[in-house]
């Protein structure tokens, strides 16, 4: 065990910058690209979708269901993975192979994003401070915009409206966090995670604005369909036809683009 640990530490030392990196996790890859190290990536996971050029890289599968031989087969010399990559046995096999495996902590908050950027920078042996301070300045701008809000709007994030059942984002979700960063109030509270919400609770929540992911067509139900439901039709959002649609990864990714997402959402809620 100690020997394995020592070996791991030795190989993890940045004696030579690795240039065959497998990046597992959408926001981790986004940070690598934002740090200008896109050309050092050789593989990605199925949640890495931005920047789009990265989708050309070989896909080693979903980050929680990795195949050790699949990851080894692309020949990485460094694996960057978001927190919770697995299964544990696969991660153990990869560590046995002597490939440095760096786990990047995950937390949907401005501090969490900065910590992620610094962790990725450290793993890549790149000075992450310029990007971190740039992102931090973005968060400050979002905070300034937020401070001007006098009459905060209640925003309901609808993940899906399949068959008239509304799946909404409650507490402890990236959706709730970004709504607050944009100066809104999450209309769905009292439960954690993304859950179906009953019609009456939605009626009581009385959202001013509906927030949805822009999935190009079918899934993003049209406004008329949405407001045809009794619970939503009576909401203030229906009266002003206020539906905001944003790219899902930008909105919920909690990466370097999150300040932009917060400001974009703020502008959509309160007008630029």
């Amino acid at each position: 065990m100690m020997r394995a640990l020592a070996l791991l530490l030795l190989t993890a030392l940045p004696c030579a910058a690795q240039d065959r990196i497998a990046s597992l996790g959408g926001s981790v890859s986004e940070i690598v690209a934002a740090l200008g190290a896109e050309d050092r990536l050789i593989a990605r996971d199925s949640t890495t979708l931005f920047p789009e050029t990265l989708t050309a890289l070989p896909d080693v599968g979903y980050v929680r269901a990795l195949s050790p031989e699949g990851v080894l087969s692309v020949g990485p010399d460094l694996i960057l993975a978001e927190e919770g990559a697995g299964p544990v046995e696969a991660v153990e096999a990869l560590q046995q192979a002597g490939i440095p495996f760096v786990s990047i902590p995950e937390d949907p908050s401005p501090e969490g994003v900065l910590a992620k950027i610094r962790a990725v920078g450290a793993a890549l042996d790149i000075d992450a401070e310029p990007l971190a301070s740039q992102v931090e300045a973005g968060f400050d701008r979002a905070a300034a915009a937020r401070a001007d809000v006098t009459d905060a709007k209640k925003v309901l994030f609808i993940l899906s409206a399949q068959g008239g059942r509304l799946m909404v984002g409650g507490d402890q979700t990236a959706a709730g966090a970004i709504i607050e960063l944009a100066g809104g109030i999450n209309a769905a509270t009292g439960f954690d995670g993304y859950k179906p919400m009953t019609d009456e609770a939605i009626l009581t929540a009385a959202p001013d604005v509906i927030l949805m992911m822009d999935r190009g067509g079918d899934h993003g139900a049209a406004n008329e369909v949405l407001f045809a439901q009794a619970a939503l039709g009576a909401s203030p959002a229906a009266k002003s036809d206020a539906v905001v649609r944003m790219d899902g990864l930008l909105l919920l990714g909690f990466g370097p683009r999150t300040p932009d997402a917060a400001i974009q959402l703020h502008d959509a809620l309160y007008g630029g």
Binding site: D59, G61, Y62, R64, A65, S67, G70, L72, Y194
Partner: protein, 348 residues
């Protein structure tokens, strides 16, 4: 019971015996194929050469020793366990649709696994990374025990009661899984989904070591059940008149299935279809005599699961498809085709 080999019309035991050795040869071939196939491109030839010359690349050695070999071992064990369990269940229930799910193994195991995934924080720390496997096994064992107790009155187990109680218990377990699915966050939801589709991707010697002491005895002891299951095919009363210890046979069969399937499900998640299709193929090909059906099922199950695993890890490499999808996508149409091409033959 006195049969002179080859003299009774319709006796296919010679054929079944020969088939066993053919299947063993097939398994050896599949094993070589499995060791030589993988995303990293290390072939058997490379490995053999490197090993002979003593200069096998450390990474290739790792791929072979810590990834492909345990995976092959686990695949063979689980394939054999599922197929034998299926054959035993179908014999015990005298029902071609019976599978280990009938004794509550699947429902109990998935409830245990889902509990560990969603409420893992409530479990004792020593379970650690093995919490899902341990809970799945505990769930499988407990639900089987429960069903057995429900169906046993004054020392006699009613298989009909067991079948019905199994349906009720399955519904209850499904409802509880539903409650926990509702409580799960999105990451846990994806974990749940992947668990249900089964995978050998997490194969390690630890898992082989954990599954082996349960699965191997079950497979090796299963031929002891053969005479009893053959007798039960005539009906329980007839089997009793033949002097077979019916109750002991039932208990041993249920224990065998619980151990083998419980261990399989615990280490690899839900892998369907092998338990239904393998015994049927063998009955069509070489007759329903359990003395040969059980060993043949073990070997054919191992072959099919290892083949499915090769497909699972190669088809979308470097990613990997859950193996339960492969067994169903490849297995179901073949099975249907076999059933359809047997026109005019009624019962299975």
């Amino acid at each position: 019971m006195v049969a002179i080999a080859g003299s009774v019309p319709g006796d296919r035991s010679d054929r079944a015996k020969r088939l066993f050795f053919w299947l063993l040869a097939g398994l050896a071939a599949v094993a070589v194929l499995s060791i030589g196939t993988g995303a990293s491109g290390v072939s058997v030839l490379d490995a053999a050469q490197g090993w002979m010359a003593g200069n096998l690349d450390p990474r290739d050695a790792l791929v072979l020793k810590s990834i492909r070999l345990p995976r092959l071992a686990l695949g063979m064990l689980i394939g054999a366990a599922l197929a034998v369990s299926g054959a035993v269940m179908q014999g015990l229930f005298r029902n071609p649709l019976a599978d280990p799910g009938v004794v509550g193994v699947g429902a109990g195991a998935s409830l245990g696994a889902v509990f560990a995934i969603v409420l893992g924080g409530m479990l004792p720390v020593w379970m650690g990374q093995h919490a899902v496997s341990l809970m799945a096994f505990a769930g499988a064992g407990y639900s089987t025990l429960l069903l057995y107790r429900v169906a046993t009155r004054s020392g006699r187990t009613s298989v009909a009661t067991m079948l019905l109680a199994g349906i009720a218990l399955g519904a209850l377990a499904a409802a509880m899984v539903g409650v926990m699915t509702y409580m799960a966050d999105d990451r846990q939801l994806r974990d749940l989904t992947f668990w249900g589709m089964g995978s050998l991707a997490g194969a390690s010697w630890t898992k082989v070591g954990a599954a082996l002491p349960l699965i191997l005895p079950a497979i090796l002891l299963s031929p002891l059940l053969a005479r009893g299951l053959n007798g039960l095919a005539l009906g329980e009363a007839a089997a009793g008149h033949m002097g077979l210890p019916v109750q002991r046979i039932k208990l041993l069969a249920i224990l065998t299935v619980a151990a083998a399937t419980g261990a399989s499900v615990a280490v690899s998640g839900g892998i369907g279809f092998i338990g239904i299709v393998v015994p049927h193929l063998l009955r069509i090909g070489s007759g329903p005599d359990h003395r040969w059906l059980l060993p043949n099922a073990a070997v054919l199950g191992a072959i099919l699961l290892c083949l499915a695993d090769i497909v699972a890890r190669m088809i979308v490499a470097p990613a990997e498809l859950p193996i339960g999808i492969v067994t169903a996508i490849l297995g179901a149409p073949v099975f249907l085709w076999i059933l359809l091409s047997r026109k005019g033959v009624g019962a299975l």
